[in-house]
């Protein structure tokens, strides 16, 4: 996602002395670095002489759960949390999380910065048939950019990868964030140097510059024109509706009714009938995982799936 660098003024710059607290909401998924980004920001604001309040929820962080952090700064800050519709900047490290927190963004003047990275949560994969549609958010970059005036969607990981360090993706986002807040670049850099491991300082500062440059050179109009609908972040299902995806063939004469397949089937689609022979009860739930086939000691089950994937 690169555009010709056209120097524009950083959008939505708050004045250095602000009458009301300035609100930055940072959201993402466990392990992405939401907390690190908010710590950098909070320290920076403090060094700039503001009162800062930060609150975060990082409950199931290690398990890929949602993580968010509110950072508020100003002359005086009372509440540590940002009310709905009052975030001046919404920084999303993951696309779906960004969509989820959209109502918190201040209408018209709020700035939305999002990494286009997709992390599909297990909960969105409830249809477990291979290739099935996930429950991931449907909004495309285009829809969001059309509706939110100050919106930036960048591939931070891609930018970081070009620098050779994927882990610096957060610093790229900090660079983009720096264009939405009026703090001197040097101040940002000195705080970042304090937070990253010493041996990675150099590359992190490069990543910061890259992110900042990207955001400064971002031209919404031409970007919008370039977006094709194919850039949808939502993956369409590859399974035709009603396809006979997998078929479980049961050789009744060989089944001894040991119950292993019934108890091991993750989708609970097999039952034991009154003759103590296994029977397929809910074929539409079967995902073709082959668990029953593998564990049947009597070779009474064969699972036919259209695509043979050798293990």
């Amino acid at each position: 996602m690169t555009t010709a660098v056209k120097p524009v003024k950083a959008p939505n710059t708050p004045p250095l002395t602000i009458p009301r607290p300035h609100n930055v909401l940072i959201v993402g998924v466990g392990g992405q670095g939401v907390i690190m980004i908010s710590k950098v920001l909070a320290t920076l604001c403090q060094e700039q002489g503001f009162e800062v309040k930060q609150s975060e929820v990082h409950g199931m962080a290690k398990r890929g759960g949602a993580v968010f952090s509110h950072v508020r700064f100003g002359e005086i800050v009372h509440s540590p949390t940002i009310p709905e519709g009052e975030a001046d900047v919404l920084l999303a490290l993951e696309w779906a999380e960004g969509m989820r927190w959209m109502p918190y963004l201040r209408q018209q003047s709020g700035t939305f910065i999002a990494d286009t990275q997709r992390i599909v949560p297990p909960f969105a994969c409830r249809n477990r048939t291979r290739g099935a549609r996930t429950g991931y958010v449907g909004e495309t970059i285009q829809t969001v950019m059309e509706q939110v005036e100050n919106s930036f969607a960048l591939d931070a990981m891609g930018i970081a990868k070009q620098l050779g360090v994927v882990k610096a993706a957060n610093t790229v986002l900090l660079g983009a964030l720096s264009t939405a807040l009026d703090f001197p670049t040097e101040a940002w850099k000195s705080v970042i140097s304090k937070f990253v491991p010493p041996q990675t300082t150099k590359v992190n500062l490069l990543a910061f510059d890259a992110g900042r440059e990207w955001a400064l050179g971002f031209d919404r109009e031409s970007e919008l024109r370039n977006i094709k609908d194919t850039r949808s972040l939502h993956q369409e299902s590859t399974v035709e509706a009603g396809a006979d995806y997998s078929r479980v063939e049961i050789t009744e004469e060989w089944c001894k009714g040991c119950d292993i397949c019934v108890k091991f089937c993750p989708e609970r689609c097999l039952i034991m009938n009154e003759k103590l022979i296994v029977e397929m009860a809910e074929p539409e739930l079967c995902t073709g995982c082959r668990m029953c086939e593998w564990l049947c000691p009597d070779f009474a089950i064969t699972v036919h799936t259209p695509n043979h994937v050798p293990l």
Binding site: W254, I260, K263, F264, W294, L295, D298, F299, T302
Partner: protein, 277 residues
């Protein structure tokens, strides 16, 4: 010959279908082990004519008969002895021995240690179900402590044999252990074992549901299979997992591997160099 097969695995191509359903009890783990073996053979692309299956006596010994290949059903404890002769005479065959814990460790224990010592290119699959099932449920060298069998009415007091350590100590070139619960991993282990040039000793954790399971109240077939997970853990999990989760500290996966010279080949070279003199 050892190319990865591209066609899907159809178990019916490898079994003598006229003998089915097989004689094993409902839920017996040996059936799963047999599937893994045939699957590995298929994936290695071994032709059925190049395969020789040698089995001893016991439930494990019987499963050889269901394989549609060259099969030998030998005397109790002696499959390794038969296999040694077979491999020396026909080094072109893939010789696979199917044996049980009693067959291999008690009655055929002596044959096992010498087969390991010679490091002949044989794959030995020891199906460990902790009991002599076919003869009525007597205690075997791998029966866990305090378990009831017909010969230990007060529970078993004898210490348990660690067959993998024994094989490694005796000189086997490849030693591994896997449970039937992890069928794909078991298949992979068997594949590695067959491909290894040297003696491969593979312990397969299996279940005897009807005799051992019932006498010891270990639950139904599915519970017994699932309980393998509590007792065994992949060697790659490392120490911390062992201490926290693993009551019996028994590892699975490839446990030992070395490239000692293979006996049949070394023997032939020796004879050839003698003949030249």
């Amino acid at each position: 010959m050892l190319d990865q097969a591209k066609t899907p695995f159809e178990i019916r191509d490898y079994i003598r279908q006229q003998l089915f359903p097989h004689f094993m009890c409902p839920g017996c783990g040996h059936g799963i082990a047999l599937r893994a073996l045939l699957w590995a053979i298929h994936d290695l692309g071994i032709a059925k004519d190049d395969l020789a299956i040698v089995s001893g006596i016991g439930c494990s010994g019987r499963i050889g008969a269901y394989i549609d290949a060259n099969t030998f059903h030998t005397t109790h404890g002696r499959p390794l002895a038969f296999a040694t002769g077979l491999k020396l005479a026909r080094p072109d065959l893939h010789v696979i021995v199917i044996t049980g814990d009693g067959d291999c460790l008690a009655i055929g224990g002596n044959h096992l240690i010498h087969a390991c010592r010679r490091n002949l290119d044989i794959t030995c699959l020891m199906l460990n179900n902790e009991i002599y099932g076919m003869t009525g449920g007597q205690v075997s060298p791998t029966t866990s402590s305090d378990r009831y069998t017909t010969t230990t009415p007060e529970g078993n007091y004898e210490p348990v044999f660690d067959a993998c350590k024994l094989a490694q100590g005796a000189g086997a070139g490849f030693v591994g252990r896997e449970m039937t619960l992890q069928t794909p991993s078991l298949k992979k282990l068997i594949q590695q074992g067959i491909a290894h040039p040297g003696f491969s000793f593979l312990e397969v954790i299996s279940d005897c549901t009807e005799i051992y399971g019932r006498k010891n109240d270990l639950g139904e077939s599915a519970e017994m299979v699932l309980s393998q997970k509590a007792d065994f853990r992949s060697a790659s999990y490392g120490m911390i997992a062992d201490e926290v989760f693993q009551p019996r500290n028994v590892k699975t996966g490839v446990l030992y591997k070395d490239d000692r010279p293979e006996y049949a080949q070394a023997y032939r070279q020796k004879i050839a160099s003698r003949a030249k003199k």
